[in-house]
């Protein structure tokens, strides 16, 4: 404080002690900010180090081989890649139309008094821990799907190979639905931000041409915001790919590649969750590290793509939801 007082008498002159304080603080904050790069380096380093053995042994074959046989020490990630892709695809098919329609409702249609509480409600849904959704999935959603929804689907769409075969309840479809529930709040709130940043003039121009409300939304709002909405969807995809607990609890955890969505599957994230603590020897854990590396690579690429879309659309004002 005495330093500050001294300086008040001589503005413009900076005593050496001051510069030290300023410089030290700046460096301190800089080091803390740079911690994010250190963390990224750490993640990359540990995953490469951990998967070293498997990378050497299997190389690229790891990605296309579907043998996962810990007993004979043979590992291939294809069933898990397949499961991750299929469950995320189901999740997106369900989540995208619902999320964007809800975002439209929140920005264009809903009565003003309802918008704030509804938005808050959706943000709360995003805060529900994955394991709780998984618990609900096991004991409420899966039995319901098994006894009511899946038989119905099979009855009317059973001619498609996707909906053939025995119904167990735990399945690729159940995994996809639970992931959809998890990513809907993210896609909805990012889409809502995007739609809110569409200039009002766009809408007024369309109204002036005599368009109905839906036509205004379609012509002036949705097509204007296309790129940003795409970014929101890709961001949701990034989350879907890495989702672990809830999926692990309902997808059935069977490494297989089959057409039926009613059959159990397995994902990259869930095989790590289930098998990592039991992995003995040196190659088995290494293969799981390599699965982690694949998962990281894919989610990081997807997230970079999403960030680029969102940033070019709306500048830095739209922040990604976590």
């Amino acid at each position: 404080m005495s330093e500050a007082a001294k300086n008040q008498k001589t503005p413009g002159l900076q005593p050496p002690g001051w510069q030290f304080g300023d410089r030290a603080f700046k460096w301190l904050t800089l080091v803390m900010a740079l911690a994010v790069f250190a963390l990224i380096a750490l993640i990359g380093y540990e995953l490469f180090r951990g998967s070293h053995l498997a990378l050497q042994k299997f190389g690229w074959r790891f990605l296309v081989s579907s043998d996962w046989d810990p007993v004979n020490d043979v590992y291939g990630a294809l069933p898990f890649i397949f499961g991750t892709v299929v469950s995320s695809a189901i999740a997106l098919l369900i989540a995208v139309p619902i999320s964007i329609a809800t975002a439209v409702y929140l920005t264009e249609l809903a009565p003003l008094w309802l918008r704030q509480p509804l938005t808050m409600f959706i943000e709360l849904l995003a805060a529900v821990p994955s394991v709780i959704l998984g618990l609900w999935g096991i004991f409420v959603m899966v039995p319901f799907l098994r006894d009511h929804f899946f038989p119905l689907l099979q009855k009317y769409l059973g001619f498609l190979p996707l909906f053939k075969g025995p119904i167990y309840g735990v399945s690729m479809m159940a995994g996809g639905i639970i992931v959809a529930i998890m990513i809907i709040p993210i896609i909805t709130s990012v889409s809502r931000e995007i739609l809110r940043s569409v200039p009002g003039l766009q809408r007024e121009a369309a109204y002036a041409l005599g368009a109905t409300r839906w036509e205004v939304t379609r012509i002036a709002v949705l097509s204007y915001a296309k790129k940003g909405l795409f970014g929101a969807v890709i961001l949701g995809l990034g989350r879907a790919l890495g989702e672990t607990m809830a999926v692990t609890m309902v997808i059935g955890n069977t490494p297989q590649i089959v057409k039926s969505l009613f059959a159990p599957g397995y994902t990259l994230a869930s095989v790590i969750a289930n098998e990592f603590n039991e992995a003995t020897g040196s190659l088995y854990p290494s293969a799981l590290f390599e699965i982690g590396l694949v998962l990281l690579g894919v989610t990081v690429l997807v997230n970079i793509f999403a960030q680029m879309l969102l940033k070019t659309f709306a500048g830095p004002s739209v922040k990604p939801q976590h």
């Binding site: 803390m32 963390l39 409702y105 821990p129 998984g134 004991f139 036509e215 890495g242 672990t244 982690g292």
Partner: protein
């Protein structure tokens, strides 16, 4: 424009509006359903013993999650020790210092970190701490949650600091106060509520994390006395009970989930009232 065309457009308009409304209801339904079932299945199993006692072995009725509840708070305290200083000071750098290019890269890196799957964090910290220390530990669990908090806290801190009017900074600097003191005593103090909000939301987020704890904190049937021992946490215990075949454990899982959800949601709702007046949620 002919009349039939007009009514068709009106019909389509009404149809799409109804559809959007239905979708909004579909989005809200899961939270209500989850909450309904949690209360229905979990509420009856919540009693004093649930909060104070250890889990009972299979077959014995009763017992609780005392150790997991304490464990969650121990892990959160450790996470805060790591995540808050790094996150807040990093956020200060982003908002107050640095060139635009460097800051762009830092923000970008933080956003990428936020997208790293939580299970990946788990195996990374396993390799970083559990292997060298020859065992699962509460410390490793705290570190992994702390690391996950860093990018979250950094981004929210930056955001609220930028809401502080530039005039405050200029006024302080004009009085000859050093820049770092201006930041600490005026900028941070003005935005303190917002920063606390960001920290609490990050804590609520990691409080529910299970995947990163599976290979770090591991879980524990007993009380944990040292940070070098494995520790239980509510999400871990809920997961273990949920996939077990015993009805009594399922009841405990529901009760645990209800308590955990109430904790997470009350933080989320609480901070909204805390910040309602000043930093209206821009997001």
């Amino acid at each position: 424009m002919t009349a039939p065309n007009h009514s068709w457009r009106n019909f389509k308009n009404a149809f799409m509006q109804t559809l959007a409304c239905v979708c909004a209801i579909l989005v809200v339904a899961p939270l209500l359903l989850v909450f309904y079932h949690l209360i229905k299945e979990g509420f009856t199993s919540i009693n004093w013993a649930f909060f104070t006692e250890l889990p009972k072995p299979v077959g014995e009725v009763g017992g609780g999650m005392g150790n997991a509840i304490v464990g969650t708070f121990v892990l959160l305290a450790q996470a805060a020790v790591i995540g808050v200083p790094v996150g807040v000071l990093g956020g200060v750098f982003l908002s107050e210092y640095g060139g635009t290019k460097l800051n762009w890269w830092i923000r970008f890196a933080a956003d990428i970190l936020n997208g790293v799957p939580s299970i990946t964090w788990g195996i990374v910290v396993y390799a970083l701490l559990v292997v060298p220390m020859h065992g699962f530990s509460a410390l490793a669990g705290g570190v992994v949650l702390g690391m996950m908090m860093i990018p979250l806290v950094m981004r929210t801190t930056e955001e609220v600091l930028q809401l502080v009017p530039g005039g405050y900074r200029e006024a302080a600097l004009a009085l000859g106060i050093a820049k770092w003191k201006t930041i600490v005593q005026i900028v941070i103090r003005t935005a303190l509520k917002g920063i606390v909000t960001g920290v609490l939301l990050a804590l609520a987020r990691v409080a529910g994390e299970t995947a990163p704890l599976l290979f770090t904190a591991l879980g524990n049937e007993h009380w944990t006395h040292k940070l070098t021992e494995p520790i239980s946490a509510m999400p871990l215990q809920i997961f273990a009970y949920a996939i077990s075949p015993y009805d009594d454990w399922h009841r405990q899982a529901w009760a645990g989930a209800l308590v955990l959800l109430l904790l997470v949601l009350s933080i989320n709702i609480g901070v909204r009232f805390l910040t309602r007046d000043r930093f209206q949620q821009k997001a």
